[in-house]
Amino acid sequence: MGTSKLKRELGLLHATMLGIGGAICAGVFVTLGYAATLAGTALIVAMVLCGIINLFTMLSYAELGAALPSAGGEYTYAKASFGGFLSFATGWFEWISNMFYAAFSAVGFAYLLSYVIPTINIPLVAVSAIIVFTLVNIKGVKETGMTQTSLVLILLILLSIFVAYGFLTSQATGVLDLKAPGGAFGVLRASAFVFVVYLGGEAIAVAQAEIKNPGKTIPRAILLTCFSLMLVYTAISIVIFRIVTVESLASQSSPLAYVAEQFMGPVGVGMVTIAGIIAALTSVNTSTMAHSRVAYALARDGYFPKRMFNVHARFSTPTIAVIAGSVFTAAFAATGIVNFVTYATDFGFIIGFVFVNLSLIKLRRDKPNLARPFKVPFFPLTPILGIATSLLLIFFLEPGTLVLGLELFIFGLVVYYVRMVGNCGICSAVGGMNFAISGFSALMAVLLVTDSLPITLSHDMLWLLFTIAVVISAVYSVAGILDVTKKVQEE
Protein backbone atom coordinates (compact mmCIF):
# COMPACT_ATOMS: atom_id res chain seq x y z
CA MET A 1 0.00 0.00 0.00
CA GLY A 2 1.59 3.26 -1.03
CA THR A 3 1.07 6.86 -0.07
CA SER A 4 -0.39 7.96 -3.40
CA LYS A 5 -2.89 10.79 -3.61
CA LEU A 6 -6.52 10.66 -4.61
CA LYS A 7 -6.92 11.36 -8.33
CA ARG A 8 -9.23 13.96 -9.83
CA GLU A 9 -11.14 11.83 -12.30
CA LEU A 10 -14.77 12.88 -11.88
CA GLY A 11 -16.23 15.34 -14.35
CA LEU A 12 -19.46 17.35 -14.19
CA LEU A 13 -21.68 14.47 -15.30
CA HIS A 14 -20.25 11.97 -12.80
CA ALA A 15 -20.35 14.51 -9.96
CA THR A 16 -23.96 15.44 -10.70
CA MET A 17 -24.98 11.80 -10.89
CA LEU A 18 -23.32 11.23 -7.49
CA GLY A 19 -25.53 13.93 -6.06
CA ILE A 20 -28.76 12.85 -7.72
CA GLY A 21 -28.15 9.15 -7.05
CA GLY A 22 -27.21 9.85 -3.47
CA ALA A 23 -30.48 11.67 -2.90
CA ILE A 24 -33.02 9.61 -4.83
CA CYS A 25 -33.39 6.58 -2.60
CA ALA A 26 -36.04 3.99 -1.85
CA GLY A 27 -37.56 6.55 0.54
CA VAL A 28 -39.28 8.48 -2.25
CA PHE A 29 -41.14 5.33 -3.22
CA VAL A 30 -42.64 4.75 0.22
CA THR A 31 -42.82 8.07 2.13
CA LEU A 32 -45.31 9.91 -0.05
CA GLY A 33 -48.36 8.02 1.27
CA TYR A 34 -47.97 9.18 4.86
CA ALA A 35 -46.83 12.63 3.76
CA ALA A 36 -50.06 12.97 1.76
CA THR A 37 -52.09 12.36 4.93
CA LEU A 38 -50.26 15.30 6.54
CA ALA A 39 -50.39 17.80 3.69
CA GLY A 40 -53.01 16.56 1.25
CA THR A 41 -52.45 17.70 -2.31
CA ALA A 42 -50.39 20.55 -0.87
CA LEU A 43 -47.64 17.91 -0.69
CA ILE A 44 -46.64 19.40 -4.03
CA VAL A 45 -45.94 22.66 -2.20
CA ALA A 46 -44.09 20.72 0.52
CA MET A 47 -41.82 19.17 -2.12
CA VAL A 48 -40.97 22.57 -3.54
CA LEU A 49 -40.48 23.94 -0.02
CA CYS A 50 -38.06 21.11 0.78
CA GLY A 51 -36.18 21.85 -2.40
CA ILE A 52 -35.82 25.51 -1.47
CA ILE A 53 -34.70 24.63 2.09
CA ASN A 54 -32.19 22.22 0.60
CA LEU A 55 -30.97 24.91 -1.79
CA PHE A 56 -30.08 27.31 1.05
CA THR A 57 -27.57 24.82 2.41
CA MET A 58 -26.44 23.46 -0.94
CA LEU A 59 -25.35 26.98 -1.92
CA SER A 60 -23.07 26.95 1.13
CA TYR A 61 -21.72 23.57 0.03
CA ALA A 62 -21.09 25.02 -3.43
CA GLU A 63 -19.03 27.96 -2.12
CA LEU A 64 -17.06 25.95 0.42
CA GLY A 65 -16.52 23.02 -1.93
CA ALA A 66 -15.08 25.30 -4.60
CA ALA A 67 -12.88 27.13 -2.08
CA LEU A 68 -11.71 24.10 -0.05
CA PRO A 69 -11.74 21.12 -2.43
CA SER A 70 -10.06 18.62 -0.07
CA ALA A 71 -11.43 15.23 0.89
CA GLY A 72 -13.98 15.14 3.67
CA GLY A 73 -16.67 17.61 2.64
CA GLU A 74 -18.41 19.18 5.63
CA TYR A 75 -15.72 17.85 8.00
CA THR A 76 -13.08 19.77 6.04
CA TYR A 77 -15.16 22.96 6.15
CA ALA A 78 -15.72 22.63 9.91
CA LYS A 79 -12.01 21.95 10.44
CA ALA A 80 -11.03 25.07 8.50
CA SER A 81 -13.57 27.16 10.44
CA PHE A 82 -13.68 25.78 13.96
CA GLY A 83 -11.19 22.93 14.38
CA GLY A 84 -11.07 20.80 17.50
CA PHE A 85 -14.00 18.81 18.77
CA LEU A 86 -16.62 20.62 16.67
CA SER A 87 -14.95 19.55 13.45
CA PHE A 88 -14.46 16.04 14.77
CA ALA A 89 -18.15 15.87 15.76
CA THR A 90 -19.15 16.95 12.25
CA GLY A 91 -16.97 14.29 10.66
CA TRP A 92 -18.08 11.70 13.19
CA PHE A 93 -21.77 12.25 12.47
CA GLU A 94 -21.12 12.22 8.71
CA TRP A 95 -19.19 8.97 8.93
CA ILE A 96 -21.79 7.23 11.09
CA SER A 97 -24.75 8.62 9.11
CA ASN A 98 -23.35 7.51 5.77
CA MET A 99 -22.66 4.00 7.05
CA PHE A 100 -26.20 3.73 8.42
CA TYR A 101 -27.58 5.16 5.18
CA ALA A 102 -25.62 2.61 3.13
CA ALA A 103 -26.90 -0.22 5.33
CA PHE A 104 -30.47 1.10 5.17
CA SER A 105 -30.29 1.36 1.37
CA ALA A 106 -28.84 -2.14 1.06
CA VAL A 107 -31.64 -3.58 3.17
CA GLY A 108 -34.17 -1.56 1.16
CA PHE A 109 -32.70 -3.02 -2.04
CA ALA A 110 -33.07 -6.54 -0.62
CA TYR A 111 -36.69 -5.96 0.40
CA LEU A 112 -37.58 -4.58 -3.05
CA LEU A 113 -35.81 -7.49 -4.75
CA SER A 114 -37.87 -9.87 -2.59
CA TYR A 115 -41.00 -8.62 -4.41
CA VAL A 116 -39.45 -10.02 -7.59
CA ILE A 117 -37.73 -13.07 -6.07
CA PRO A 118 -39.64 -13.92 -2.88
CA THR A 119 -37.30 -16.70 -1.72
CA ILE A 120 -34.18 -14.58 -1.21
CA ASN A 121 -32.49 -14.19 2.17
CA ILE A 122 -32.75 -10.49 2.86
CA PRO A 123 -29.73 -9.95 5.15
CA LEU A 124 -27.56 -12.03 2.82
CA VAL A 125 -28.63 -10.06 -0.25
CA ALA A 126 -28.09 -6.78 1.58
CA VAL A 127 -24.57 -7.78 2.61
CA SER A 128 -23.84 -8.98 -0.93
CA ALA A 129 -24.85 -5.59 -2.31
CA ILE A 130 -22.52 -3.90 0.16
CA ILE A 131 -19.66 -6.19 -0.86
CA VAL A 132 -20.21 -5.48 -4.56
CA PHE A 133 -20.12 -1.72 -4.09
CA THR A 134 -17.17 -1.98 -1.74
CA LEU A 135 -15.26 -3.66 -4.55
CA VAL A 136 -16.42 -1.02 -7.04
CA ASN A 137 -15.25 1.75 -4.70
CA ILE A 138 -11.91 0.04 -4.14
CA LYS A 139 -11.35 -0.42 -7.86
CA GLY A 140 -11.30 3.31 -8.53
CA VAL A 141 -13.20 6.57 -8.35
CA LYS A 142 -13.69 6.51 -12.12
CA GLU A 143 -15.36 3.11 -11.87
CA THR A 144 -17.50 4.39 -9.00
CA GLY A 145 -18.52 7.41 -11.08
CA MET A 146 -19.29 5.36 -14.18
CA THR A 147 -21.34 2.83 -12.23
CA GLN A 148 -23.25 5.63 -10.57
CA THR A 149 -23.85 7.44 -13.87
CA SER A 150 -25.16 4.31 -15.57
CA LEU A 151 -27.53 3.47 -12.73
CA VAL A 152 -28.82 7.02 -12.28
CA LEU A 153 -29.46 7.48 -16.01
CA ILE A 154 -31.55 4.30 -16.06
CA LEU A 155 -33.39 5.48 -12.95
CA LEU A 156 -34.10 8.90 -14.46
CA ILE A 157 -35.36 7.31 -17.67
CA LEU A 158 -37.78 5.10 -15.73
CA LEU A 159 -39.02 8.02 -13.65
CA SER A 160 -39.38 10.14 -16.80
CA ILE A 161 -41.54 7.45 -18.37
CA PHE A 162 -43.68 7.39 -15.22
CA VAL A 163 -44.05 11.18 -15.24
CA ALA A 164 -44.65 11.51 -18.99
CA TYR A 165 -47.22 8.74 -19.05
CA GLY A 166 -48.81 10.17 -15.95
CA PHE A 167 -49.32 13.55 -17.59
CA LEU A 168 -50.61 12.06 -20.85
CA THR A 169 -52.88 9.29 -19.58
CA SER A 170 -56.61 9.73 -19.59
CA GLN A 171 -57.05 7.36 -16.64
CA ALA A 172 -56.83 10.12 -14.08
CA THR A 173 -59.21 10.12 -11.14
CA GLY A 174 -57.37 12.49 -8.85
CA VAL A 175 -58.06 16.13 -8.15
CA LEU A 176 -55.23 18.62 -8.56
CA ASP A 177 -56.48 21.52 -6.45
CA LEU A 178 -54.01 22.36 -3.69
CA LYS A 179 -55.67 21.56 -0.37
CA ALA A 180 -53.94 21.06 2.97
CA PRO A 181 -56.21 19.38 5.53
CA GLY A 182 -53.69 20.15 8.28
CA GLY A 183 -53.15 23.71 7.15
CA ALA A 184 -49.69 25.28 7.03
CA PHE A 185 -48.55 23.18 10.01
CA GLY A 186 -49.47 20.03 8.13
CA VAL A 187 -47.39 21.18 5.17
CA LEU A 188 -44.44 21.86 7.48
CA ARG A 189 -44.77 18.44 9.10
CA ALA A 190 -44.93 16.83 5.68
CA SER A 191 -41.85 18.82 4.62
CA ALA A 192 -39.90 17.57 7.63
CA PHE A 193 -41.01 14.02 6.90
CA VAL A 194 -40.11 13.98 3.20
CA PHE A 195 -36.96 16.10 3.52
CA VAL A 196 -35.04 12.84 3.69
CA VAL A 197 -35.53 12.44 -0.07
CA TYR A 198 -33.25 15.45 -0.64
CA LEU A 199 -30.47 14.14 1.61
CA GLY A 200 -27.49 12.76 -0.25
CA GLY A 201 -26.76 15.58 -2.65
CA GLU A 202 -23.91 16.62 -0.39
CA ALA A 203 -22.10 13.43 -1.48
CA ILE A 204 -20.57 15.66 -4.13
CA ALA A 205 -18.80 17.58 -1.37
CA VAL A 206 -17.33 14.44 0.17
CA ALA A 207 -15.87 13.42 -3.19
CA GLN A 208 -14.55 16.91 -3.96
CA ALA A 209 -10.89 15.84 -3.77
CA GLU A 210 -11.54 13.66 -6.81
CA ILE A 211 -13.48 16.11 -8.96
CA LYS A 212 -11.77 17.75 -11.93
CA ASN A 213 -11.58 21.53 -12.02
CA PRO A 214 -13.30 21.77 -8.63
CA GLY A 215 -13.71 25.53 -8.64
CA LYS A 216 -16.22 25.30 -11.49
CA THR A 217 -17.44 21.71 -11.42
CA ILE A 218 -18.49 21.48 -7.77
CA PRO A 219 -20.87 24.49 -7.76
CA ARG A 220 -22.35 23.47 -11.10
CA ALA A 221 -22.86 19.85 -10.03
CA ILE A 222 -24.45 20.88 -6.74
CA LEU A 223 -26.84 23.35 -8.36
CA LEU A 224 -27.73 20.92 -11.15
CA THR A 225 -28.46 18.28 -8.51
CA CYS A 226 -30.67 20.63 -6.49
CA PHE A 227 -32.79 21.76 -9.42
CA SER A 228 -33.01 18.27 -10.91
CA LEU A 229 -34.29 16.85 -7.63
CA MET A 230 -36.87 19.62 -7.26
CA LEU A 231 -38.07 19.01 -10.81
CA VAL A 232 -38.25 15.23 -10.45
CA TYR A 233 -39.98 15.19 -7.07
CA THR A 234 -42.46 17.95 -7.93
CA ALA A 235 -43.35 16.24 -11.21
CA ILE A 236 -43.84 12.91 -9.43
CA SER A 237 -46.08 14.58 -6.82
CA ILE A 238 -48.21 16.25 -9.51
CA VAL A 239 -48.63 12.96 -11.38
CA ILE A 240 -49.59 11.14 -8.19
CA PHE A 241 -52.41 13.55 -7.34
CA ARG A 242 -53.52 13.64 -10.96
CA ILE A 243 -54.00 9.87 -10.98
CA VAL A 244 -55.35 9.05 -7.50
CA THR A 245 -57.07 10.76 -4.59
CA VAL A 246 -55.32 11.54 -1.31
CA GLU A 247 -57.61 9.17 0.58
CA SER A 248 -56.74 6.17 -1.61
CA LEU A 249 -53.02 6.93 -1.26
CA ALA A 250 -52.94 7.11 2.53
CA SER A 251 -53.24 3.36 3.14
CA GLN A 252 -50.64 2.28 0.60
CA SER A 253 -47.26 0.93 1.77
CA SER A 254 -45.82 1.48 -1.73
CA PRO A 255 -47.64 4.58 -2.97
CA LEU A 256 -45.67 5.02 -6.19
CA ALA A 257 -46.21 1.41 -7.23
CA TYR A 258 -49.91 1.75 -6.43
CA VAL A 259 -50.20 4.87 -8.58
CA ALA A 260 -48.30 3.26 -11.46
CA GLU A 261 -50.64 0.28 -11.32
CA GLN A 262 -53.68 2.55 -11.79
CA PHE A 263 -52.62 3.86 -15.19
CA MET A 264 -49.87 1.46 -16.33
CA GLY A 265 -51.03 -1.85 -14.90
CA PRO A 266 -48.57 -4.58 -13.84
CA VAL A 267 -45.96 -3.18 -16.24
CA GLY A 268 -46.02 0.05 -14.26
CA VAL A 269 -45.62 -1.79 -10.97
CA GLY A 270 -42.66 -3.70 -12.36
CA MET A 271 -41.10 -0.52 -13.71
CA VAL A 272 -41.46 1.33 -10.41
CA THR A 273 -40.08 -1.67 -8.49
CA ILE A 274 -37.02 -1.75 -10.74
CA ALA A 275 -36.62 2.01 -10.31
CA GLY A 276 -36.77 1.54 -6.54
CA ILE A 277 -34.15 -1.20 -6.69
CA ILE A 278 -31.82 1.00 -8.74
CA ALA A 279 -32.44 3.97 -6.44
CA ALA A 280 -31.43 1.87 -3.44
CA LEU A 281 -28.27 0.69 -5.21
CA THR A 282 -27.21 4.22 -6.17
CA SER A 283 -27.56 5.23 -2.53
CA VAL A 284 -25.39 2.29 -1.42
CA ASN A 285 -22.72 3.32 -3.93
CA THR A 286 -22.74 6.99 -2.95
CA SER A 287 -22.82 6.34 0.78
CA THR A 288 -19.95 3.85 0.54
CA MET A 289 -17.87 6.47 -1.22
CA ALA A 290 -18.95 9.14 1.27
CA HIS A 291 -18.15 7.27 4.50
CA SER A 292 -14.75 6.19 3.17
CA ARG A 293 -13.72 9.73 2.19
CA VAL A 294 -14.83 11.14 5.55
CA ALA A 295 -12.85 8.41 7.34
CA TYR A 296 -9.88 9.20 5.05
CA ALA A 297 -10.06 12.86 6.01
CA LEU A 298 -10.42 12.07 9.74
CA ALA A 299 -7.37 9.81 9.50
CA ARG A 300 -5.47 12.55 7.66
CA ASP A 301 -5.91 14.77 10.69
CA GLY A 302 -5.11 12.09 13.27
CA TYR A 303 -8.61 11.38 14.60
CA PHE A 304 -8.81 7.92 13.03
CA PRO A 305 -6.05 5.32 12.62
CA LYS A 306 -3.36 6.43 10.17
CA ARG A 307 -3.83 3.33 8.02
CA MET A 308 -7.16 4.73 6.85
CA PHE A 309 -5.22 7.57 5.22
CA ASN A 310 -3.34 5.16 2.96
CA VAL A 311 -4.21 5.41 -0.72
CA HIS A 312 -3.74 2.32 -2.86
CA ALA A 313 -0.82 2.84 -5.24
CA ARG A 314 -2.61 1.22 -8.18
CA PHE A 315 -6.27 2.04 -7.57
CA SER A 316 -5.74 5.50 -6.02
CA THR A 317 -8.52 4.86 -3.52
CA PRO A 318 -8.41 4.82 0.32
CA THR A 319 -8.84 1.05 0.41
CA ILE A 320 -8.54 0.53 4.19
CA ALA A 321 -11.10 3.28 4.87
CA VAL A 322 -13.51 1.74 2.34
CA ILE A 323 -13.17 -1.74 3.83
CA ALA A 324 -13.36 -0.62 7.47
CA GLY A 325 -16.56 1.35 6.92
CA SER A 326 -18.08 -1.41 4.80
CA VAL A 327 -17.48 -3.97 7.56
CA PHE A 328 -19.57 -1.85 9.95
CA THR A 329 -22.16 -1.24 7.23
CA ALA A 330 -22.47 -4.96 6.53
CA ALA A 331 -22.80 -5.68 10.26
CA PHE A 332 -25.58 -3.08 10.58
CA ALA A 333 -27.38 -4.54 7.56
CA ALA A 334 -26.99 -8.16 8.62
CA THR A 335 -28.20 -7.69 12.18
CA GLY A 336 -31.23 -5.60 11.24
CA ILE A 337 -30.15 -2.90 13.68
CA VAL A 338 -30.47 -0.51 10.77
CA ASN A 339 -34.23 -0.46 11.19
CA PHE A 340 -34.10 1.51 14.40
CA VAL A 341 -30.90 3.50 13.97
CA THR A 342 -31.87 4.81 10.55
CA TYR A 343 -33.55 7.72 12.29
CA ALA A 344 -30.09 8.81 13.42
CA THR A 345 -29.05 9.36 9.79
CA ASP A 346 -31.51 12.24 9.47
CA PHE A 347 -30.16 13.78 12.66
CA GLY A 348 -26.54 13.37 11.52
CA PHE A 349 -27.14 14.92 8.10
CA ILE A 350 -29.06 17.86 9.58
CA ILE A 351 -26.22 18.50 12.06
CA GLY A 352 -23.88 18.51 9.07
CA PHE A 353 -26.11 21.08 7.34
CA VAL A 354 -26.01 23.38 10.37
CA PHE A 355 -22.22 23.22 10.60
CA VAL A 356 -21.72 23.82 6.88
CA ASN A 357 -23.74 27.03 7.05
CA LEU A 358 -21.94 28.11 10.23
CA SER A 359 -18.59 27.34 8.60
CA LEU A 360 -19.50 29.54 5.63
CA ILE A 361 -20.30 32.48 7.87
CA LYS A 362 -17.17 32.03 10.01
CA LEU A 363 -14.84 31.65 7.05
CA ARG A 364 -16.26 34.74 5.33
CA ARG A 365 -15.41 36.64 8.52
CA ASP A 366 -12.07 35.01 9.41
CA LYS A 367 -10.67 34.48 5.91
CA PRO A 368 -12.17 37.13 3.66
CA ASN A 369 -9.28 36.81 1.20
CA LEU A 370 -9.71 33.08 0.63
CA ALA A 371 -10.11 32.36 -3.08
CA ARG A 372 -13.79 31.68 -3.69
CA PRO A 373 -14.57 30.70 -7.31
CA PHE A 374 -18.27 30.65 -6.34
CA LYS A 375 -19.96 32.93 -3.84
CA VAL A 376 -23.32 32.39 -2.18
CA PRO A 377 -25.80 35.08 -3.21
CA PHE A 378 -27.60 37.25 -0.62
CA PHE A 379 -25.03 36.49 2.08
CA PRO A 380 -25.57 36.24 5.08
CA LEU A 381 -29.31 35.72 4.60
CA THR A 382 -28.89 32.44 2.71
CA PRO A 383 -26.78 30.54 5.26
CA ILE A 384 -28.84 31.97 8.13
CA LEU A 385 -31.98 30.62 6.46
CA GLY A 386 -30.15 27.32 5.95
CA ILE A 387 -29.36 27.12 9.67
CA ALA A 388 -32.85 28.18 10.74
CA THR A 389 -34.65 25.73 8.45
CA SER A 390 -32.31 22.87 9.41
CA LEU A 391 -32.88 23.50 13.13
CA LEU A 392 -36.60 23.74 12.48
CA LEU A 393 -36.51 20.29 10.90
CA ILE A 394 -34.90 18.86 14.04
CA PHE A 395 -38.01 19.80 16.02
CA PHE A 396 -40.10 17.66 13.73
CA LEU A 397 -37.95 14.58 14.18
CA GLU A 398 -39.15 11.74 16.37
CA PRO A 399 -37.99 12.06 20.02
CA GLY A 400 -36.24 8.71 19.67
CA THR A 401 -34.12 10.22 16.90
CA LEU A 402 -32.91 12.98 19.18
CA VAL A 403 -32.09 10.52 21.97
CA LEU A 404 -30.19 8.30 19.57
CA GLY A 405 -28.37 11.32 18.16
CA LEU A 406 -27.36 12.33 21.69
CA GLU A 407 -26.07 8.84 22.38
CA LEU A 408 -23.99 8.89 19.19
CA PHE A 409 -22.68 12.31 20.21
CA ILE A 410 -21.60 10.97 23.61
CA PHE A 411 -19.97 7.97 21.94
CA GLY A 412 -18.14 10.36 19.62
CA LEU A 413 -17.04 12.39 22.63
CA VAL A 414 -15.53 9.27 24.17
CA VAL A 415 -13.75 8.38 20.91
CA TYR A 416 -12.37 11.92 20.66
CA TYR A 417 -11.21 11.86 24.27
CA VAL A 418 -9.49 8.50 23.83
CA ARG A 419 -7.71 9.65 20.65
CA MET A 420 -6.68 13.04 21.94
CA VAL A 421 -5.47 12.33 25.49
CA GLY A 422 -2.26 10.42 26.02
CA ASN A 423 -2.07 6.84 27.20
CA CYS A 424 -1.43 8.05 30.75
CA GLY A 425 -4.62 10.10 30.70
CA ILE A 426 -6.60 7.06 29.66
CA CYS A 427 -4.99 4.95 32.37
CA SER A 428 -5.81 7.56 34.98
CA ALA A 429 -9.41 7.76 33.79
CA VAL A 430 -9.86 3.99 33.79
CA GLY A 431 -8.14 3.78 37.18
CA GLY A 432 -10.55 6.32 38.60
CA MET A 433 -13.46 4.37 37.17
CA ASN A 434 -12.16 1.19 38.81
CA PHE A 435 -11.87 2.95 42.18
CA ALA A 436 -15.43 4.22 41.85
CA ILE A 437 -16.76 0.74 41.07
CA SER A 438 -14.74 -0.65 43.98
CA GLY A 439 -16.12 1.93 46.39
CA PHE A 440 -19.69 1.38 45.21
CA SER A 441 -19.34 -2.39 45.57
CA ALA A 442 -17.95 -1.98 49.08
CA LEU A 443 -20.91 0.23 49.96
CA MET A 444 -23.33 -2.35 48.52
CA ALA A 445 -21.63 -5.09 50.58
CA VAL A 446 -22.09 -3.06 53.77
CA LEU A 447 -25.73 -2.31 52.97
CA LEU A 448 -26.41 -5.97 52.21
CA VAL A 449 -24.84 -7.31 55.41
CA THR A 450 -26.62 -4.71 57.57
CA ASP A 451 -29.92 -5.46 55.78
CA SER A 452 -30.29 -1.78 54.93
CA LEU A 453 -31.52 -2.21 51.34
CA PRO A 454 -35.31 -1.86 50.78
CA ILE A 455 -35.53 -5.26 49.06
CA THR A 456 -36.31 -8.73 50.37
CA LEU A 457 -33.78 -11.41 49.48
CA SER A 458 -33.42 -14.98 50.60
CA HIS A 459 -30.58 -15.76 53.05
CA ASP A 460 -28.54 -17.60 50.41
CA MET A 461 -29.00 -14.93 47.76
CA LEU A 462 -28.04 -12.21 50.24
CA TRP A 463 -24.74 -13.90 51.11
CA LEU A 464 -24.04 -14.68 47.47
CA LEU A 465 -24.47 -11.03 46.52
CA PHE A 466 -22.40 -9.96 49.52
CA THR A 467 -19.54 -12.25 48.45
CA ILE A 468 -19.72 -11.00 44.85
CA ALA A 469 -19.69 -7.36 46.02
CA VAL A 470 -16.63 -7.96 48.24
CA VAL A 471 -14.73 -9.74 45.45
CA ILE A 472 -15.57 -6.99 42.96
CA SER A 473 -14.51 -4.33 45.42
CA ALA A 474 -11.15 -6.04 46.00
CA VAL A 475 -10.42 -6.83 42.35
CA TYR A 476 -11.35 -3.39 41.07
CA SER A 477 -9.37 -1.57 43.74
CA VAL A 478 -6.29 -3.58 42.68
CA ALA A 479 -7.05 -2.77 39.03
CA GLY A 480 -7.33 0.90 39.91
CA ILE A 481 -3.95 0.84 41.70
CA LEU A 482 -2.35 -0.89 38.70
CA ASP A 483 -3.78 1.73 36.31
CA VAL A 484 -2.79 4.85 38.23
CA THR A 485 0.68 3.53 39.08
CA LYS A 486 1.44 2.64 35.46
CA LYS A 487 3.06 6.03 34.80
CA VAL A 488 5.24 5.72 37.92
CA GLN A 489 6.27 2.25 36.77
CA GLU A 490 7.29 3.50 33.31
CA GLU A 491 9.36 6.30 34.77
Binding site: M433, V475, D483, Q489
Partner: protein
Protein backbone atom coordinates in the same frame (compact mmCIF):
# COMPACT_ATOMS: atom_id res chain seq x y z
CA UNK B 1 8.94 -6.26 41.16
CA UNK B 2 7.96 -6.29 37.50
CA UNK B 3 7.20 -9.98 37.37
CA UNK B 4 4.72 -10.05 40.30
CA UNK B 5 3.10 -6.91 38.92
CA UNK B 6 2.78 -8.53 35.52
CA UNK B 7 1.19 -11.64 37.01
CA UNK B 8 -1.23 -9.60 39.11
CA UNK B 9 -2.14 -7.46 36.05
CA UNK B 10 -2.85 -10.52 33.94
CA UNK B 11 -4.95 -12.16 36.64
CA UNK B 12 -6.90 -8.99 37.44
CA UNK B 13 -7.36 -8.28 33.71
CA UNK B 14 -8.76 -11.74 33.11
CA UNK B 15 -11.02 -11.54 36.15
CA UNK B 16 -12.34 -8.16 35.03
CA UNK B 17 -13.03 -9.47 31.54
CA UNK B 18 -14.81 -12.43 33.12
CA UNK B 19 -16.90 -10.18 35.32
CA UNK B 20 -17.70 -8.02 32.31
CA UNK B 21 -18.83 -10.99 30.28
CA UNK B 22 -20.95 -12.32 33.13
CA UNK B 23 -22.52 -8.91 33.66
CA UNK B 24 -23.43 -8.73 29.97
CA UNK B 25 -25.01 -12.18 30.13
CA UNK B 26 -26.76 -11.23 33.37
CA UNK B 27 -28.23 -8.22 31.60
CA UNK B 28 -29.82 -10.51 29.03
CA UNK B 29 -31.15 -12.91 31.66
CA UNK B 30 -32.61 -10.09 33.73
CA UNK B 31 -34.73 -9.34 30.66
CA UNK B 32 -35.62 -12.91 29.75
CA UNK B 33 -35.79 -14.86 33.03
CA UNK B 34 -38.67 -14.17 35.39
CA UNK B 35 -37.24 -16.55 38.01
CA UNK B 36 -34.01 -14.56 38.13
CA UNK B 37 -35.94 -11.34 38.50
CA UNK B 38 -37.88 -12.90 41.36
CA UNK B 39 -34.71 -14.14 43.04
CA UNK B 40 -33.13 -10.68 42.82
CA UNK B 41 -36.39 -8.95 43.84
CA UNK B 42 -36.44 -6.82 40.67
CA UNK B 43 -39.77 -5.13 40.11
CA UNK B 44 -41.11 -5.11 36.50
CA UNK B 45 -40.67 -1.35 36.18
CA UNK B 46 -37.02 -1.66 37.27
CA UNK B 47 -35.99 -4.27 34.70
CA UNK B 48 -34.55 -1.83 32.15
CA UNK B 49 -32.69 0.08 34.85
CA UNK B 50 -30.94 -3.05 36.06
CA UNK B 51 -30.26 -4.13 32.49
CA UNK B 52 -28.67 -0.76 31.79
CA UNK B 53 -26.56 -0.85 34.94
CA UNK B 54 -25.46 -4.39 34.24
CA UNK B 55 -24.59 -3.61 30.62
CA UNK B 56 -22.59 -0.51 31.50
CA UNK B 57 -20.73 -2.36 34.23
CA UNK B 58 -20.03 -5.17 31.77
CA UNK B 59 -18.62 -2.87 29.09
CA UNK B 60 -16.48 -0.88 31.52
CA UNK B 61 -15.10 -4.07 33.07
CA UNK B 62 -14.19 -5.54 29.71
CA UNK B 63 -12.51 -2.30 28.63
CA UNK B 64 -10.51 -2.11 31.85
CA UNK B 65 -9.58 -5.80 31.71
CA UNK B 66 -8.49 -5.63 28.09
CA UNK B 67 -6.39 -2.55 28.81
CA UNK B 68 -4.54 -4.36 31.56
CA UNK B 69 -3.96 -7.40 29.38
CA UNK B 70 -2.82 -5.37 26.34
CA UNK B 71 -0.51 -3.20 28.41
CA UNK B 72 1.19 -6.16 30.01
CA UNK B 73 1.47 -7.93 26.66
CA UNK B 74 2.95 -4.80 25.10
CA UNK B 75 5.44 -4.37 27.95
CA UNK B 76 6.56 -8.00 27.65
CA UNK B 77 7.19 -7.63 23.92
CA UNK B 78 8.99 -4.34 24.50
Amino acid sequence: MRRPRRIVSLVVGLVQCGFGGLASVLSYFIYSSSSLREALAIAPEEVYLYMFISSVFGVLSIVSGVMLLVQENGRRQG
